[in-house]
Symmetry: C2
Subunit: 184 residues, 2 copies
């Protein structure tokens, strides 16, 4: 009977937060302090820092994809569902602790293309793309349109990160509306 969360869980939670807010370069000491965990526990559970990073990305990917699922839920019309997604993105980028796309930031943080983190970020994007294609299943050119929507999403996250525009998701939504209307 384990009512309280163990060190493994606390490390994943701390990693998910600190890697997002501070970047993957966050020191091990900061992670241990945030998680209230002994140094040894990290290396017993994850092998090394990269192991923790990989596992955090895996968990975050599941959560974020679930977020996309709920952001799309509701309307029966696929166009309305996809436009609603940009409304949710508008709320997301307006959040004070929004710091952009975790996966792209991870890719940039590791110059070595062989780093295991890249496999996780690629997996996330492939799943996100599949999700968009599924939504567009009933409409013409689902693959090409999914690519465009994906580009709009990434662009929104970037613009939201740099704060160049107060509401980039609204600009993206308008763009999405035109192509979703055209392919109807």
């Amino acid at each position: 009977m384990s009512s309280k969360t163990g060190p493994r869980e606390r490390l994943l939670t701390a990693g998910q937060q600190l890697f997002y807010t501070q970047g993957a370069a966050v020191g091990v000491d900061a992670l241990l302090k945030e998680a209230n965990v002994a140094r040894r526990s990290l290396y017993e559970h994850f092998g090394d820092k990269d192991g923790l990073i990989t596992e955090v990305l895996r968990r975050a990917a599941d959560e974020d994809l679930a977020w996309y699922e709920t952001a799309l839920a509701g309307p029966a019309d696929p166009r309305a569902r996809l436009l609603q997604l940009f409304d949710r993105l508008d709320e997301l980028t307006a959040t004070p602790d929004f710091r952009g796309c975790r996966y792209f930031a991870t890719d940039l943080a590791f110059a070595d293309p062989g780093h295991p983190a890249h496999a996780e970020t690629e997996s996330f994007r492939r799943r996100l793309r599949a999700l968009l294609v599924r939504e567009l299943g009933a409409l013409p050119h689902p693959e090409a349109t999914a690519e465009q929507l994906h580009l709009l999403i990434e662009g929104t996250l970037v613009m939201g990160t740099t704060q160049d525009s107060p509401h980039p998701a609204r600009a993206a939504r308008a763009l999405a509306a035109t192509i979703l209307g055209e392919i109807a």
Copy 2:
């Protein structure tokens, strides 16, 4: 009579290349070796590593904005000029050594919002935005459309970095064509 380039120039060139390909976390030793410059010269000319980073960004911003200018040059019709920009972006992202947007990568590399590099990246984006607004001067809603084009550009650079799509600029170009057509 200085026919050969001095250490300052070599450092800027090496920094411009290494910071782009390896990220801002590149070590000072690697920079010195690449530039064939003594350690002392770096600190005499730029104070510290951040000084070099800032100066590299300043120079790169001028070059990149000039690239945008030439990418837009040619056609008299502003719509054609902007669509041509995405053709140039298509070539750019297809370059084997393309590694994405230098400025956004720099922003992500420094979690501290007070780091001097952020001022340079913000300056670049502001100038880029102004360039887009200028191009759209004769058309309706130049500010709003510039925001959308900016978002498409950033999205293209991200998608080109992660290689999710072979030609993200073409997807972006199609999106740009719809809004440029609509506001006509």
